[in-house]
């Protein structure tokens, strides 16, 4: 029972990172209806860049943070202007292919500049262990939960309270209508990409503080976020929240109970199996809109 609870708690703790990652994908999808298959590579790229600044170039943290923001803004702007804007009006396939190709480019860049095995980020928070009854929680994963919840809350407030957030929600509803109300849809796309890449960087750094910087695990984190988004329903932020926690728990249960039986690795595919089952039952995810279409 203690083992089960511990696994459950671990799953929920990792689940928070998935929630954050899924949020990034949902934001981009809602505003520009592009499903970001490059997310995994973006997580890797951003995290390695953080490592480069903090460890490679020995920058103080706040300088690194500001520089990261500038770089992410430039990246978001370049993405929108150079790649995605020319693709406006193309079929779904083009958008998917473009983000997949971008992902390949980013992962190529990571391999080119940071070859070899993973890196280690410095320890920012003293490692200690929190005990609630028989269950132990490390301070790092607790920090992750706090940061993720904070980000989530900030984004929700941003969407509900600010003018830009309102413009983004409007764009998500209808591009043409938003445009005729004076919203610069193009800029909204840039902002949503900025937010998405920023979130990718935050998630990547959090994940790396737990397991070290390795491109494979960061990439698979981003890919699992795709599963989370589809599981929750693509338009739904609530879906991202619940889906992320489900995937986290499933993964943790898989690694606790089934990995010892089949010899490892099952936790990596458990989220995908759950995804297949849920999609067979609910084709639009848990909270996705069931679209009613006219021919």
């Amino acid at each position: 029972m203690v083992f089960f609870l511990q696994i459950l708690v671990n799953g929920i703790l990792t689940g928070f990172i998935y929630v954050l990652m899924a949020l990034a994908i949902v934001i981009v999808y809602k505003s520009s209806s592009i499903f970001n298959f490059a997310h995994g590579s973006l997580v890797g790229l951003c995290t390695f860049f953080v490592w480069q600044m903090v460890v490679g170039w020995g920058m103080p943290l706040y300088v690194a943070f500001v520089l990261e923001l500038v770089v992410i803004a430039a990246l978001a702007f370049a993405l929108q202007r150079l790649v995605l804007k020319p693709l406006t009006g193309q079929p779904l396939m083009a958008a998917i292919m473009a983000t997949i190709a971008l992902g390949e480019v980013f992962s190529g860049i990571v391999v080119l500049f940071w070859p070899g095995p993973g890196r280690v980020l410095p320890v920012w928070i003293e490692l200690s262990v929190l005990k609630i009854g028989p269950i132990t929680i490390s301070s790092e994963s607790l920090t992750n939960v706090v940061v993720c919840t904070l980000c989530f809350a900030i984004f929700l407030l941003f969407f509900q309270k600010t003018k830009l957030g309102l413009a983004m929600r409007g764009t998500a509803e209808d591009h043409t209508l938003a445009q005729s109300d004076g919203v610069k849809v193009d800029m909204i796309f840039v902002v949503s990409w900025f937010v998405a890449i920023l979130v990718a960087a935050i998630g990547g750094v959090l994940m790396s503080s737990l397991y070290g910087v390795s491109y494979e695990s960061l990439h698979s984190l981003g890919m699992k976020a795709l599963a989370v988004v589809i599981l929750g329903g693509m338009e739904s932020i609530l879906g991202a929240l619940i889906g992320g926690l489900i995937i986290g728990v499933v993964e943790s249960l898989g690694s606790g109970y089934i990995d010892p039986l089949v010899g490892g690795g099952f936790s990596e595919v458990a989220p995908y199996i759950v995804l297949l089952i849920i999609l067979a039952l609910r084709p639009y995810g848990l909270f996705g809109y069931q679209r009613i279409e006219r021919v």
Partner: protein, 351 residues
Amino acid sequence: MYKKPCGVFDESYEQDSALVRTGYRWSMLVLLLAILFVAIPLLAGNYVLDVLNNIAITLIAALGLQIVIGFTGQISLGHAAFMAVGAYTSAMLSTHLGLSFWIAMPLAALTAGLLGIVIAMPALRIRGFYVAVTTLAAHYVIMWVILHGGDLTKGISGLTAGEITIGSFVFDTELKFYFLVMSLAALAVFFTSNVMRTKIGRAMIAVRDNDLAAGFMGINVFRTKVVSFFLSSLYAGVAGSLLAHYQGIITVDQFTLMDSIWILAMLVVGGATITGVIMGVVFFKLLSQVVLFGGPLVGSMFPSFGGSAVSAGMQILFGVVVILFLIFEPRGLSHRWQITLSTFRLWPFPH
């Protein structure tokens, strides 16, 4: 749609439905077949033949993906996994049961095809991005099962596949294998172009253009999607089986998500026609040869990037090529080819 030159008229249904219509096209076809099956085997060395064999195998897989993506409009990211199913089924049948390739290959293709239907089941009720991520999930699950198959699949160390024989004749050199795969690839091209002219093929195109409208017109959308996924995985199974027996040993590393993505990229670069698929496959395989030879040269100019620079460079180059094609020529090489052809059809007498 192939436009006929001036003065060529169809006078019977046989002429109207012929795949090759004019004498000129017949002569070009015969010339092409002569180059493929006489000139190249006579002239090409083993290395070139090896490249061509790989092109032919990839072409079969790409044609399968074209049925699902280009004709039915469902985006599949799991094609490499279906190839893996074909390859491993074939290798298991030949290694563990000692079956010959000629029995193992159809069985492998059938297994891949049936698995394609199973995986497609959830994908059939859903559309767009949901299908893409479902097939992505299927990829991870299938590859995990293969990796953890124990003695059946030999996990990480790789499974051997027997040689292909007819009686005492063994397909053991590149040249002998070339005839086998090239004939199969030619058959696949022929079969695919014909499928598109049948009732089910036209139904697929209707589903791609608008599945709701297709449903209202009396097309069984569910059946059409099932058939297209079945056919697609069947092709992947054949390609995987050929790959297994060509290389003699297969590992899970040969069927990664990247491989699915590169086949997709070939379709993007080539364009949404059969000619386009051929062009895309050839273009990408030749590009990778260029990188293979040119990469170390460029790499030696920038020694600071180290040994993985070539593969990383290849990834970046391919990604950029795909993006450039999406932006500047979304209809692919085959569209360019059509423009060139129609220019020269009238040249130099515009009328």
